[in-house]
Each structure stands twice: as C-alpha cells, then as structure tokens.
C-alpha cells in the first residue's frame, strides 16, 4: 500500500473507532472517552499500519503483540480489535452490560486479541517486557508494543520494567506513552510531574522519539522498524490531546470518565466526520 493510501486507511479506521467508541460510552453511560480519544490514532496506526497478526489465529506464536496498559480506555481497544476482525460488531453493543465479554477493563479470557488483563495501572509494561524477553530468548521475530498513559508512569512498577528493558537491549520492544498531560483529576505536571520524560527514558537505556500522537504519518514512521532493526528498546512519547476530535471534550480532565448526555452525543457525532 502506498504511504498516502495507508495513512488514509488508518484515518478512516480511527474515525470509525471514535464514533463507535463514543456510541458505546453513550449507550452504557460508562467509560473513559477522553483517554479513548487521545489513544485512538496510535492504536489505529498499530493495528492498520504496523502490526502483523491474524484475527483468525489470535494465539499464533509469531504474532506481534499489543498490550493496552491503560486498560480503562476500552473504547479504543475494543473498537480496534473489532475493526481488525477479532469479533463481530454486535459484540460492541454489549459493552459493560451484565455478562458481557466487553468488561470495563479488558480480559484476555473473554476476548480474542487481548494479550493480558489490565486495569490497575503500571501492569502492562512489566508483562510486555516478559513477552519481549520471551521473544529475545527464542530468537523470535515478533515485536511487542505497549501503550501506557502518561499519568500511569507515576506507578513505580513501570520504572522497574524500564530499567530491566534498557539493560536487556530489547530492540523489538516499543513503548508508546499517550502523553495527553492530563490524569483523572488534573494535569500530570501539577500532580506529580513527569518532565523531562524523554531524558528519563534515555537515562534508562532507551531510544526515544517524540511525535504528534494524532499525526498518523508520523506515527507510522516512528512505529516502523528501521532497516537492520534496533539495539535498544524504543519509547515513543506521543503528544496527544485528551478527548481529541470533539470540541467540548478536548483537553478537559473531566472527560476522563465523563459520559455524554443526548445533546452532547449529537454534537459529537456531527463533529466526528
């Protein structure tokens, strides 16, 4: 696929994911739409422009892995897996309903394509690290991607894993930080500041790239493996906007787990085109 076509395809998928995720949240009157929307372009780029997988063989050993450490942003993850062909769209209608496979946080035993159960923050990076180590030990070709929130990096377990990954020179390991600068209550920097985040990861032995997390072309470039591969793990700091795509949601911490009323839903649907 030509680069421009690829970018268009990813954008189309991302638009569908935003509309579908927001509808899920509206129907359930539950969810985390702000964080869904900051992450969707990243996840769409991974599933529709970068990763190798076969939805018919979700356990294929050589698949690339994506670990959604910010497990609360299920609107983004579930729509991506659905669009990727892991399950039919009907399943999305059950979001957070009793006995649904689409729990408020993902469960690998409920849904194909979910690599591990997340929800409590600071869990995805260590698990992803283990997957990457397994790949390194067995000389496998698969890549391991993990998406964390930025506020989530206040959890110490991430830094245990970051240190270990840097020391192990895991060239097929990529962390993407959804750097929307807002956690559930207020800004990350006014809560427990993370900057300079790039320097932190470099000091831990990682390559670091800073990109616009809504620029799909830039994301494709950053996420693609360079010729000859890498000799260090890669941290992509994706600068994003919480609530991206809907005017009244953008950069508002209250949309971390805010849910729309009917009027807000209609406005959002008009804007998401």
């Amino acid at each position: 696929m030509l680069k421009n076509d690829l970018v268009d395809t990813i954008r189309e998928k991302a638009l569908w994911m935003r509309r579908r995720a927001f509808t899920m949240v509206y129907d359930a009157q539950l969810g985390h739409p702000g964080g869904d929307f900051s992450a969707i372009d990243i996840i769409a780029t991974l599933y529709f422009g970068v990763m190798r997988y076969d939805p018919k063989k979700p356990d294929m050993p050589e698949r690339d892995r994506f670990i959604m450490s910010k497990g609360h942003a299920t609107g983004a993850l579930y729509t991506a897996l659905c669009a990727a062909g892991y399950y039919p769209e009907d399943w999305l209608k059950t979001y957070m309903q009793p006995q649904s496979k689409l729990n408020g946080h993902p469960n690998r035993n409920y849904l194909p394509g979910v690599e591990t159960n997340t929800g409590p923050l600071g869990h995805g990076l260590p698990v992803a690290l283990g997957i990457a180590i397994a790949g390194q030990m067995t000389n496998s070709d698969y890549r391991t991607f993990v998406l964390t929130g930025d506020g989530e990096l206040q959890e110490g377990s991430n830094w245990e894993a970051a240190m270990s990954a840097g020391n192990r020179k895991l060239g097929k390991f990529t962390l993407i930080v959804d750097r929307n600068r807002l956690q559930q209550g207020m800004g990350t920097e006014e809560t427990n500041g993370l900057d300079p985040l790039d320097d932190k990861f470099r000091a831990f032995g990682w390559d670091v790239e800073v990109v616009d997390g809504h620029d799909v072309g830039a994301l494709v470039n950053a996420l693609s493996e360079p010729p000859g591969g890498r000799s260090k793990p890669l941290c992509i700091i994706a600068n994003t906007i919480k609530g991206k795509g809907v005017s009244f949601m953008e950069n508002k911490a209250s949309w971390h787990h805010g849910v729309p009323n009917a009027e807000q839903y209609d406005i959002a649907m008009e804007e998401l085109v």
């Binding site: 469960n107 600071g122 869990h123 260590p126 283990g130 397994a134 030990m137 894993a161």
Partner: protein, 320 residues
C-alpha cells in the same frame, strides 16, 4: 540472614529438592525458565544458572516487575518459575499476583522460598505467614505446601506439567521425609499419613512431621490421632475434612502461618457450614516477637508436645 538450623541426621532442606527437580525438568523442556529478584542463592538456583544462563531472568530487586515478567513470559510460550522469598513474592507483588497471574490466568509457577517464619530473628517484615490468607481467595491459583523433599520434587514436577497458575510454598527449615506407603502426589487431595479415630490433626508443610510425632505421643496415652497432610490449600480437599469431622469428631489444624485466613480458617469455614466439630487452630496469631525459628515454634506451641496438647483439648470439647 537467619542462622541455619543445626544439621540433623535425616533432615533435608526442601529447597535442594526444588533446585534438583527444576534443573532436571529444564534439561528436557526448553520452555522452562526461572525468574528471580536477585534471589539466585536463596532460591538455590546457582546450578540452574550455570546450566542455563540464558534461561534465568534476574530482574533485580523488583518484585512487581518480576511477577509481571512472569506473566509475559507465559504469553510468549515459556513456562516460568518465578522464585523469590515468599514474603516479597506474595506481599510486594500481590496485585500482580492477583491481576497478572490469577485473573489473567497465565501458566506461571510462583515459588515462595523461606516461607513461614524461616527467617526467624529477621522479624515479621521477612516472615511470610500472611500468604495463605492473601492467596486463598485467588482460587484459580493452586496452592501447594510440600511437607518434605519427596513431596517438593513431586509438586514441582506436577506444576511444570499442569497448565495454569500454581503457588508452591517452600521453607528453608530442614524436615525429615515422611513415612507413607505407596505415596503418590495428588493435588487437591489430603494425604493420609496416619490412621486414627479420636481426633484428626490436619497439618501442612513443616508442621506435618511434628504432627506425626504428636500422634505417637498421643498413642501412648491411648488416643488415636489421624494425621492428614494437607499439602494443597487451594483447592481444598473438603471430602477429607468432612470425613475427619464425621469420623473423628474433633480437629486440630497446624500451619506455619497466621491462623487467620489460612489452613485452619479454611477447615473451619468448611466444617462450620457443614459438620461443626471442635477445632483447635494452631499457628501464629499475628506478628511474632523476635526469636529464632526454634524459639518461635516452641513459644507458639508448634511442637509435638504442643500439638498433642491441642489434640487433647479438642477431644475434651467434644459434646456428650
């Protein structure tokens, strides 16, 4: 580190059986890997490291990462044995054990070393007497507490072959091999170590051989004590407990653990709901004072004489 217990003839540190067995298994199954937190020595994995340097992952002093890495290794098709002092493995990384291992259901084997009060004088920060209560509700983790070297080896072999999360709780206190005919390790089944009809002593781990000694003492007084080695805490052998309650009418539980929420708690939950009988729960009531392992066992009555005393008390509480 705690001073090693005086060497006694015929007493063995179960960690040696663990180390021997994991090395043997790893020879034949390249999927088996070990994950440690700077705990190669205390896990007795020096031999494993020499033989399989690329299959020992030392994450350093970082238990949350250690357990998460274990889950990830299982995702990547490995069979990880995550081995660390049980106090840190289960306490420091409890949320990882819950979410990444139990809830996610990964095929990870957690091996808690130097459990109970094995670290003696180092005190309650280094004791692991809460682990039963913490892990019992995580009911898809099979929790095994071997009583001797033979059972340790069998439990490790079984865990490697079993698809699903397992917690194996080992001590560093030397224990003698139990004398049981035709032994076969059956997870989820109590092992009948000694027949008896007046009282049942249900013990696990380091306490089983002491319970056997107590039964010998009681026999001299004409008291017939049944001994069950409850090596699996989860899932619990409820049928054996029911039989003990209905056939002997009194129960003593003995564990190197906090009496709240552990083996005794589990037995009491089952009998109180089904066949209420007098129960004496032996173990530790909470954080323990400073002292050697031997002193702590003695202080809390975890001796043959102490167990026999509890057995008499339980029998005395029978109705009619």
């Amino acid at each position: 580190m705690a001073a090693p217990a005086a060497k006694q003839e015929g007493f063995y540190d179960c960690r040696d059986a663990w180390a021997r067995t994991i090395e043997e298994l790893a020879e034949n199954d390249p999927r088996i890997v070990a994950v440690v937190n700077d705990s190669v020595g205390s896990s007795k994995l020096g031999g494993f490291q020499k033989k399989f340097p690329d299959r020992l992952i030392n994450v350093g002093i970082a238990e949350q990462n250690m357990v998460g890495v274990g889950a990830g290794l299982a995702n990547g098709g490995r069979i990880p044995f995550v081995s660390a002092a049980s106090c840190f493995l289960t306490g420091r990384a409890l949320e990882q054990v819950k979410a990444d291992i139990a809830y996610a259901g990964f095929n990870v084997k957690l091996v808690g070393q130097s459990s109970g009060v094995a670290y003696g004088e180092l005190g309650p920060t280094h004791h692991s007497i809460e682990d039963f209560a913490w892990l019992r509700p995580l009911s898809n983790i099979t929790m095994v507490v071997p009583a001797d070297s033979w059972e340790t080896a069998e439990a490790v072999k079984w865990a490697a072959a079993h698809e699903g999360p397992v917690y194996i709780r080992l001590s560093r206190m030397p224990v003698p091999d139990l004398s049981v005919e035709d032994r076969k390790f059956q997870p989820g089944k109590a092992e009948l170590v000694r027949k008896g009809s007046d009282v049942t002593i249900i013990a696990c781990g380091t306490m089983v051989h002491l319970a056997v000694q107590a039964a010998v003492e009681l026999e001299a007084e004409g008291i017939s004590a049944r001994i069950l080695n409850m090596a699996t805490i989860t899932p619990l052998d409820e049928a054996a407990i029911s039989a003990a309650a209905s056939e002997t009418g009194a129960i003593v539980t003995v564990e190197e653990a906090n009496i709240h929420g552990g083996l005794g708690g589990a037995v009491a939950e089952h009998t109180s709901a089904n066949l209420p009988v007098p129960i004496e729960r032996m173990g530790f009531p909470g954080f323990v004072p400073t002292g050697s392992v031997e002193w702590l066992f003695d202080h809390f009555g975890l001796t043959a004489a102490g167990i026999a005393r509890s057995a008499r008390k339980a029998i005395g509480r029978k109705r009619g």
